[in-house]
Symmetry: C2
Subunit: 351 residues, 2 copies
């Protein structure tokens, strides 16, 4: 098959062997696959794969790795021991995890589990979901990106007495914003240096957007949460001041620490970005403020299903996130273009 292959640190489109489905696996044809910031992280950070003792994500510089974990695909064939409940030709997607004979692998981040930047790849039959949708595959494939922020926003259980602050306006942030909007909490505040990203955040449901070059996000938060006209402020104070819930959706070292230093006492932080190299944190400040940090980017299965249904049905409109599409020959350039924060949230590969 033709595929965009990561090897020795660079991506090149060429012909490699077709993947062969093992026990419980489906062979699928890639219809569309989004380029995610974590593809860039994965390429750039050998140590992140080494840090992962589970072996799910392994970056072996000498091996051929086909990235791409936000896909819409079509069933082509079945491996041994499959139920074959989904007919050939059906459009599907899944959580990007593949069970192999030796363990679970992240699809698109392991030589054993190629992803959607090639013509064919493998899915775990038990995780495969049928795309009940009339929307194009370029839209359906965005569901996995949506599921991460969706799950974080769901797990946060933001109350009516809390005001959420979303740091970054990439795909995870935007999906967190969309889900916070659906859950009816707010005002939802969102932060990004890039004007186009802030526009997209408004389109996805943010109430207030902040350019951190103009005002500290935490001062802006206080202005909104504590600073309404006096009569309302007295009501708020009587009922207890609003609490702060911060969603860290950036993944660049220093951002989580800047949240720790800037946020209010008692803030609940959901760190979804998580830079591969880790970072130095002012833990004494965190201690003095009594902060809580929930780490975790992976969606829960039922949140993935909810997000997939919302995207497939069109009840969640993800078109503000979509940029151009490219073929397999354009993957290397598109990956490079994805480094530019001024670009669209998602470039989609259509093999």
């Amino acid at each position: 098959m033709r595929a965009a292959v990561l090897q020795g640190g660079t991506v090149e489109t060429r012909v490699i062997g077709d993947p062969v489905p093992e026990r419980g696996q489906l062979l699928v044809r890639s219809l569309a696959c989004g380029i995610c910031a974590s593809d860039i992280h994965f390429m750039d950070h050998l140590e992140a794969g080494m840090d992962d003792e589970s072996g799910m994500s392994t970056y072996d510089r000498d091996a051929e790795i086909v990235m791409g974990h936000e896909y819409c695909a079509e069933v082509v064939d079945y491996g041994p021991g499959t139920e074959r409940r989904i007919p050939v030709g059906t459009r599907v997607s899944s959580l990007p995890v593949l069970a192999t004979a030796t363990g679970r692998r992240i699809i698109g981040q392991n030589p054993e589990s190629p992803g959607g930047f090639g013509e064919y790849f493998l899915l775990d039959e038990s995780l495969t979901r049928v795309a009940v949708s009339e929307l194009p595959s370029e839209i359906v494939c965005i569901a996995d990106a949506i599921s991460v922020g969706w799950s974080a926003a769901s797990r946060a259980q933001v109350t009516a007495k809390e005001v959420p602050l979303v740091i970054g306006c990439g795909a995870i942030a935007l999906s967190a914003i969309a889900q916070l909007r659906r859950l009816g909490v707010g005002p939802i505040m969102a932060v990004d240096f890039v004007a186009s990203r802030r526009e997209t955040a408004l389109a996805m449901g943010a109430d207030v957007v902040i350019d951190p070059a103009e005002i500290s996000p935490y001062q802006a938060w206080r202005d909104v949460a504590y600073g309404p006209p006096e009569p309302m402020k007295e009501m708020l104070t009587a009922a207890g001041l609003p609490g702060c819930v911060v969603f860290e959706c950036v993944g660049i070292p220093g951002v989580l620490d800047s949240i720790i230093r800037g946020c209010e006492r008692g803030t609940r932080i959901f760190s979804v970005g998580g830079p591969p190299e880790g970072e130095h944190l002012h833990t004494l400040t965190a201690k003095r403020k009594g902060l809580n940090i929930q780490f975790g980017g992976g969606p829960l299965m039922h949140h993935w299903d909810e997000a997939f249904e919302a995207v497939c049905s069109g009840s969640l409109d993800v078109t503000p996130m979509l940029g151009r599409t490219v073929g397999l020959d354009g993957v290397a350039d598109a990956l490079a273009a994805s480094r530019d924060a001024n670009g669209p949230v998602r470039i989609v590969v259509v093999p």
Copy 2:
């Protein structure tokens, strides 16, 4: 008055001016005051005071600071605007916070709020609690040290399906262990390099103690939590594997990160130690494991009151934690001795 004075980085006992109670404050005589690891942290870490934007803790090298925040004292006089509900001569203690005209100060960590390593100091009348106790002041003064771990253990709300692992066996750890024991959860596992500290942990209620020089605490935890005889293991598995709750009670850089790297997926971490200089954390590992870190060492007021009552009534026996007592002239040497982890958990200053 005579006092052990921290100035220019060293402690010297000499005569300084008596503190004068301001509005709402009591003048008290120090009867006994424990030496805490945070006294050492405070001496050694100028930057920690600077990091504290609240101004509660300020280490000015040129100023005279009298440390000591775990005290039992006797009421001597009243400042203006006090209710005078506690008679002169009554034994008291308090959460070590003093309200001044310009803000709240940590007693013993600010030039404006001297602590118990001097003959006299000041308390906030509204926070002052009467010691209803027949026990000596050297025991009563330990209550504040108890309150920190007590509060963390209470807030953790460890369930019957979780197995707690306490890292470090200093005062905070021991009080967390004591409160976990009272709450009826367990088995309680405790970790320290020092044999005498492990002995004290057993005396305070730990079920299993671990020398990390012999076995990884996380392997030991798995052995206890997952590794009972087969029939019981099957029961546990059927009911869901036990969850891990780790109490970080060390405060040395690298410990929190080692917990992140060693612990099970989904572990809830209570970071009570918090090294002043902060630390580098493998946040990607934390993210992949979905860890939750609750930072915070300060006790809630009602937990402080509970711990004080338990110590005063003798229902919590803190004598395993007590070492020798010293006079004001011995404070500098006793502070130096407190750096030795092989020493007793608490040396008490009796001015």
